[in-house]
């Protein structure tokens, strides 16, 4: 099974060098080959499991509580301006 590593890396927002693409191509192919064994499992009429808690209807009330201060919110960023996070210009 061959993955289009370039395409997947773009989707995953991962910048990769040409060497990395080749390396991962090989490794991912061998992993996917192993995963193919799942095809043998008999899953007709089996419902998917996406959560194991069997919980339902867990919600919260509509009651606001204090937020982080602006300083706390931006404390871990290297790029801020007047309390906003700053990134390279995006043209929409």
């Amino acid at each position: 099974m061959k993955i289009d590593v370039l395409h997947i890396a773009k989707l995953a927002n991962l910048p990769l060098s040409k060497e990395e693409i080749e390396k991962y191509q090989k490794q991912l192919s061998s992993i996917l080959e192993y995963i193919e064994k799942l095809k043998k499992a008999k899953t007709d009429n089996i419902i998917e499991t996406s959560q194991v808690t069997n919980l339902e209807n867990v919600t919260k009330k509509d009651e606001p509580t204090p937020s982080l201060s602006q300083n706390e919110a931006i404390a871990n960023s290297n790029n801020t301006q007047n309390g906003s996070f700053k990134v390279k210009a995006i043209f929409e």
């Binding site: 991962l14 992993i31 064994k37 095809k39 499991t49 867990v58 871990n76």
Partner: protein, 472 residues
């Protein structure tokens, strides 16, 4: 015996009886860290001043007769738990300068009960790994033989307890990341039922698989910590309202008559279980029989699909959970991700992508149901399951790092438990070539008290916890 050789139970007694102070106890641990962390690399961040300050405050409370479950006890936290004001890296270069603005619920609970956080322990970056070698801060070494891996991903936490740097340590177990390192370091490792302990504030690996647990020297200590960390959390919608029992009450009950199942697929050798591991496990079964348990052969027929199922669901969730690391609000840019993280992100992105979702992700979710059914069926006839933890003894550092798939296969005996969301307890079961090995007990959901009971009986009979990795 030095203060850091004590169990939590013994330390609590000593503190209460004023045989020593928390400051002395914490200082002893910090001394070991200072002496041995360079070679073992168990800690990424050591909180020396904060810990001593908190220890002195604990001593004041102790003087006034205060009694909290973990008052004055030094605990280490896996560096994937958010600690307010203390650097939290997930052992990745992406977060090497990240300081959380909040505490994980578990950290808050530990602090509220008086525990002293001595530092943040090393791990496979983002909890991706089974050996402790995937850390961007260097591999952690096994204190029993520094050329060998301590197991992962909670490598530093296991080593901190095994080498006397802390009396207990927190960990996470998504595919075996507590149970495996516990078995490689002669410590007790608990993976609770999924949802038993809150995940809030713990950097998410695979959301439907992450279980929050801990390392201790004894089963009794493990039960004590679970009593603190377990319970419904309003900030984690996947924590059920199940009451938290007093885990100490049934601890010492005998296990005579308990039915313990051994899955034939786990010991047949088809999953790479070596002869020496099998031999050690058989010895353990004899011990259990001596204690009065009934050993029953069972089958978990879909065991062989566990790794394939796990390595579709887990990377898919990983790829989504790591999407928030874009360097804008915190951390460094995505090119700082290590190889293993990049591999898993891409694997997960692929199996979720258009055209492949049905064949991979959806299929894996169905196989997950099969695996859950296997356990449910088995537990109709038995009380608990016993099995080896790792198919092999600990391996040498570097042995599996060139082959990601080979590394993944180390998880074969542990992943199915995570897919089903059931609890697992690893207890030391002896040594193979002077390297520790362990036995794991699995039970139905919320059966931690039963697992503690079995583990405690086994541990008290075999007394492997008395052996230390260092000169006492």
């Amino acid at each position: 015996m030095r203060l850091n050789d004590l169990t939590i139970k013994q330390a609590k007694q000593g503190l209460r009886n004023k045989e020593f102070s928390s400051e002395e106890l914490v200082k002893t641990c910090l001394d070991v860290i200072e002496k041995r962390n360079k070679s073992l690399n168990a800690f990424i961040t050591v909180c020396k001043d904060e810990a001593l300050d908190k220890a002195r405050k604990a001593d004041d409370l102790l003087k006034n007769g205060q009694d909290l479950p973990l008052l004055g006890i030094p605990i280490a936290a896996k560096d994937i738990f958010s600690t307010k004001g203390i650097r939290t890296t997930a052992a990745s270069k992406v977060l090497d300068n990240y300081i959380p603005q909040y505490d994980a619920t578990v950290i808050r609970k530990l602090k509220d009960t008086g525990a002293i956080i001595v530092g943040k322990t090393n791990l496979d970056a983002w909890a991706h790994g089974s050996s402790g070698e995937n850390s961007d801060f260097g591999p952690t070494k096994n204190p029993w033989n520094e050329e060998y891996v301590p197991g992962g991903s909670s490598s530093g936490s296991a080593v901190s307890v095994a080498s006397g740097m802390a009396l207990g340590a927190t960990g996470t177990d998504t595919g075996g990341s507590i149970r495996l390192p516990a078995s490689f370091t002669n410590t007790v490792g608990l993976k609770p039922t999924y949802g038993r302990v809150s995940r809030y504030g713990i950097i998410a690996m695979a959301s439907s698989l992450d279980s929050i647990g801990h390392f201790t020297k004894t089963v009794e200590d493990s039960a004590l910590i679970l009593g603190v960390t377990a319970g419904k959390d309003e900030f984690d919608a996947t924590t059920p309202s199940e009451t938290v029992p007093d885990y100490q009450t049934s601890l010492t009950k005998r296990i005579k008559g308990l039915r313990i199942g051994v899955p034939k697929e786990y010991v047949s050798g088809q999953e790479g279980v070596t002869a020496e591991v099998k031999a050690n496990f058989n010895e353990s079964l004899k011990t259990l029989e001596k204690l009065g348990a009934e050993i029953i052969d069972i089958s978990l027929p879909n065991t062989e699909y566990g790794i394939a199922c796990y390595y579709i669901i887990q990377p898919a969730e990983v790829s989504s959970n790591l999407a928030r690391f874009d360097g804008i609000r915190y951390g460094n840019e995505r090119e700082s991700f290590g190889d293993e993280a990049k591999r898993r992100i891409m694997l997960g992105t692929f199996t979720l992508s258009v055209g492949y979702y049905d064949a991979y992700y959806k299929k894996a979710m169905k196989v997950r149901t099969l695996i859950i059914n296997d356990f449910e069926k088995a537990f109709e006839k038995i009380d608990a399951i016993a099995s080896p933890v790792s198919p092999t003894k600990p391996w040498k550092i570097g042995d599996k790092t060139n082959d990601p798939l080979k590394m993944y296969l180390s998880d074969i005996l542990t992943v199915n438990c995570n897919l089903a969301g059931i609890p697992g307890l690893t207890v030391p079961s002896g040594f193979i070539d002077k390297l520790p090995t362990g036995i794991q007990f699995l039970g139905p959901k919320f059966s931690e008290d039963l697992l503690f009971r079995i583990g405690h009986a086994f541990e008290q009979e075999t007394k492997f916890y008395e052996k230390k990795a260092y000169e006492t």
